[in-house]
């Protein structure tokens, strides 16, 4: 089992998730010297509520509203969907034209990097953004592609056959990150 396991079985508690989001929100604004032309794009499923929380945090301390989009990478992936994901794909929704925008792609867990590769392909089909950055709540390592995150909530060392589960209030009723060991 990787990471420090908290007493309730979680490697990241609700408070830690909240603080990580506030910190990443600040880092995004700082790195981009403001919020002009900024757009957050959450990757379905759990990247979307994370992107919305980041936008809410930015609104709180910056007083400005940042657009939030939702990206479905189902039609772009090169591997089979992860265990437990539904085969269902939903329409991607981008609030405005992404050409010339600074995009921050938001996902819950960064692992092999293959989903991010698919997301980059998907985004580029919509236009030519000025830049694309990546924000993730958890980086668990084991990259298979030359991809890294610009903003990381928490680095959690894992074994390759561990499962990292991010649970969010919006989809799972509570905020926590848990790592479980696979015993095959």
């Amino acid at each position: 089992m990787g990471g420090i396991v908290l007493s309730n079985g979680a490697v990241m508690s609700a408070d830690e998730i909240r603080r990580a989001i506030v910190r990443i929100a600040h880092e995004i604004v700082e790195q981009n010297a403001g919020v002009s032309d900024l757009m957050l794009v959450g990757m379905r499923t759990r990247g979307v509520p994370l992107a919305e929380r980041l936008a809410a945090a930015i609104r709180e301390f910056e007083g400005e509203t940042v657009g939030v989009g939702a990206l479905d990478i189902g039609l772009y992936r090169d591997d089979l969907p992860a265990l437990g994901t539904k085969v269902e794909i939903k329409p991607s929704e981008l609030p405005q034209d992404i050409a010339g925008k600074r995009l921050v792609l938001v996902d819950d867990v960064l692992y092999t990097g293959r989903s991010i590769r698919a997301a980059l392909d998907a985004l580029i089909d919509y236009g030519r953004p000025e830049r694309i950055q990546l924000a993730v709540l958890v980086d668990r390592g084991h990259r298979e592609l030359p991809i890294r995150a610009d903003f990381v909530g928490k680095n959690i060392p894992t074994a390759k056959d561990d499962d990292v589960l991010v649970q969010l209030e919006e989809s799972d009723g509570k905020d926590q990150v848990i790592v479980t060991e696979r015993r095959d």
Partner: protein, 355 residues
């Protein structure tokens, strides 16, 4: 034969890591998301008669995502890159074949069109030999239209590729039913409890047959209307008769003026002119006088009730020109949605299986 809707992956799921997860201290920590609500388990799309409403809804929800792709400046995604789709049509078709071809291309697949009229079929090649040839080419999917009911089932049994029934004889046309359901859902919202009237030559219509299964599965109240000579054997108005003859629970009404009252939507079917020469109809004039969907009759349906037609249309026979091109006609939406629905079906058949 079509695979049953039961979850064939149950035994597999039991051996997945998810099921062997150590129980965390917090019992609800392993969430429900490990078990997908709807699984795609089908290898072929032969008919919708054994589809659960959840399966139909999965197709329709996937269609929403495909519509978004079609609305882009450059509608092309790599989802089916490297796969080969063969369309094999033993009957004439414009919209079905063209929409399958476009659907495959938008998803990045290679599409080969084989028309029986210009292939070795003309030299007397049997269906199964043609199927084997298509298999040897390396096709992943064969979209088959055949004048004989059941032909796609034989092709599915004898091949390793996936088969989509694009219309077989007087039996089934599942993608038409799915696109009609999608079009109706987009227009009416939920289909459950809605009264949908299908009028015309029900007995010979594969469109009607697949539609009645699909719409009743989604909870619609389906009313069939047409002259008694063009009603399927075994249907005389009561739903128990339908069940006895392995038909879905539908109601029959021979008088269109009564059937159309309070309808949420009306679907007119193409009347094949041969029906008159075969003695099933006294005359086309009489047919259109009694069964044509026109403005006067449509006024008896719910206000704004949409009108569908699978095409090609005989204007002035089963539907008046005014209604066919009027504000309540969804004929063009049906064609546009046909591409998106076929994209969804191709995607689910080739990529929908869980690891």
């Amino acid at each position: 034969m079509a695979k049953n809707a039961t979850r064939t992956q149950t035994s597999r799921a039991a051996s997945t890591p998810a099921a062997k997860r150590p129980t965390p201290l917090n019992p609800d920590a392993t969430s429900e998301r490990l078990v997908p609500e709807t699984n795609w388990t089908r290898r072929h799309l032969l008919d919708v008669d054994d589809f659960t409403s959840a399966e139909i809804e999965l197709v329709l929800d996937t269609t929403d995502a495909m519509k978004e792709v079609l609305a882009r400046d450059i509608p092309r995604v790599p989802a089916l890159r490297g796969t080969t789709i063969v369309t094999l049509f033993y009957e004439a078709s414009t919209r079905t074949r063209a929409s399958f071809e476009l659907a495959g291309k938008v998803l990045g697949a290679d599409v080969i069109n084989v028309a029986a009229s210009s292939s070795s079929v003309q030299k007397g090649e049997a269906l199964l030999d043609t199927v084997r040839t298509i298999q040897a080419i390396g096709a992943d999917v064969c979209v088959l239209r055949h004048h004989a009911s059941g032909a796609p089932y034989i092709a599915a049994r004898e091949s390793e590729f996936r088969v989509i029934n694009a219309g077989d004889g007087q039996h089934a046309h599942p993608t038409q039913a799915l696109l009609d359901a999608y079009t109706l859902r987009s227009e009416l919202g939920d289909i459950r409890g809605r009264k949908i009237v299908i009028v015309g030559d029900i007995a010979h219509s594969r469109v009607a047959r697949s539609n009645m299964w699909c719409l009743t599965s989604l909870g619609a109240e389906v009313v069939l209307c047409g002259p008694p000579t063009l009603m399927p054997v075994g249907l005389n108005g009561s739903t128990s008769d339908a069940e006895e003859h392995d038909l879905p629970p539908v109601r029959v009404e021979y008088d269109l003026d009564i059937a159309i009252e309070g309808a949420d939507a009306v679907m007119a079917l193409r009347l094949q002119r041969e029906r008159q020469s075969s003695g099933l109809l006294p005359s086309l004039r009489e047919y259109s006088r009694l069964y044509q969907v026109n403005g006067e009759r449509l006024a008896k349906a719910k206000p704004g009730a949409p009108v569908l037609h699978p095409g090609p249309i005989n204007e002035g026979v089963e539907i008046s020109t005014e209604v066919a091109h009027g504000a309540r006609s969804l004929v063009e939406e049906q064609v546009t949605n046909g591409v998106a629905v076929r994209m969804a079906v191709l995607y689910l058949l080739l990529r929908g299986e869980q690891p």
